[in-house]
Symmetry: C2
Subunit: 252 residues, 2 copies
Amino acid sequence: MNDISIKSESSARLRDCGTCPIRHNAVCARCEADELAELDRVKYYRNYEAGQPIIWSGDHMDFVASVVTGVAALTQAMEDGRTQMVGLLLPSDFLGRPGRNTVLYDVTAVSDLTLCCFRRKPFEDLLKSTPNISQRLLEMTLNELDAAREWMLILGRKTAREKIASLLSIFARREASLHLSHIPDGARFSLPLTREAMADYLGLTLETVSRQISALKRDGIIELHGTRQVYIPDFGALLVETGDDADGGMPE
Amino acid sequence: MNDISIKSESSARLRDCGTCPIRHNAVCARCEADELAELDRVKYYRNYEAGQPIIWSGDHMDFVASVVTGVAALTQAMEDGRTQMVGLLLPSDFLGRPGRNTVLYDVTAVSDLTLCCFRRKPFEDLLKSTPNISQRLLEMTLNELDAAREWMLILGRKTAREKIASLLSIFARREASLHLSHIPDGARFSLPLTREAMADYLGLTLETVSRQISALKRDGIIELHGTRQVYIPDFGALLVETGDDADGGMPE
DNA sequence: CTTGTGCCTTGACCTATGTCAATTGAAAGC
DNA sequence: GCTTTCAATTGACATAGGTCAAGGCACAAG
């Protein structure tokens, strides 16, 4: 919600890179004016409503894109309906795979979403000729790989409670990095995902997610306002619940 | 073992890129003679014995490297000893993270291992000046990200039996892509991992791994010679057990 | 051939999480 | 202000996989 739900009316406003909210974080972060102009020639915006599919696994994909506002999810599905989220794209994240014209997972808009799309072929050409783009993309991809690996530890080894705590701390941290400066003690944010989407993210069922959230609430680790607004009185206490060492409780 | 266990005696022989077994797959795959010469100036070889640690999470890492022969594992550990493998590096795979001088996971030699190392700083400079390197690295990183995402589905949603079947089919496929041409019906290979390492890979315990392997054997999906030699009479049957759709059983 | 030392297998039992089903809550349209 | 609808909670119960413990197998060293 809040800063996420810019709808179609704004697509005109967004056409200018100068005022683009992700100007300094996306693939184009390092581009000079002339390079932006090149990109501009192959770009267009697209809007999706919350819940809308963007592409299906196996589809032909003739563009790559940056998420401007909103949240998109990459999910893999099995025949029998089991589903695992394998990527969560937030503003400035990159969607698509230069060098491949087909897509390996379903992509869905989790919230209302605006993409800044680039036609794939010309983008690939730019990639070759513009180190400021290809190097930024390499950096972003390495970051995503690191995130994916952390996620694997969560999926493979953590208990349900630890999984939920980990997810909440990820959101809390991100919220902090956007607005406030650092230490998010007393963080407050609204969950961008339904219980079902959280379950898909964490390899759980929605019932287990619900139960563990209730348990964390009972134990005073989190407070809920309604069903989406989360308040974290003591971030350290939440961290302990994630099972990640770091320090955990500083007393002792 | 077989083609993997080239030991220290060979490190001299390996000094020449011309005869390097990974010449056409590693980061250097696209390099011209002059670019190889540049790389050569900052490179050196290192050998590790099976089981040896290479670096620990948090350590300073002053090199990046290509795996020349052998297998290395990236693992994340939790305080209480739980452990999850998050990457398995095979010959030609890249180790290290340009732009970061510290390492996020433990790296261990799973089998005897030879690395072709590049001093980090000069490698990063080359990366900036040599598109043939940076673009190959981008491509490889995107591939790893795809693999990581497939792995997430395995970790998050598959049953123990499906996990084992998936792992075996991954090995079978790789074996095939090395030696034979394609369809690995009647594949035969030796497991490069102990039961414990497989458990770490799959987010299981070693007992469960053992039980599921026994079960697949009982059901005639695989045959074992000793404890490591695997024979797969009917690859399609194995695929069905992975839970991945594709086609599965062609009859029907 | 004998003894170790690491794997690996197998069994009995336990628990975390999934499954199925009923209820409650809360935002959206009339 | 009601009704509808979709999301979330909660409970009772089932089960896959973890835990603990005892052997077994095979290769290496003597």
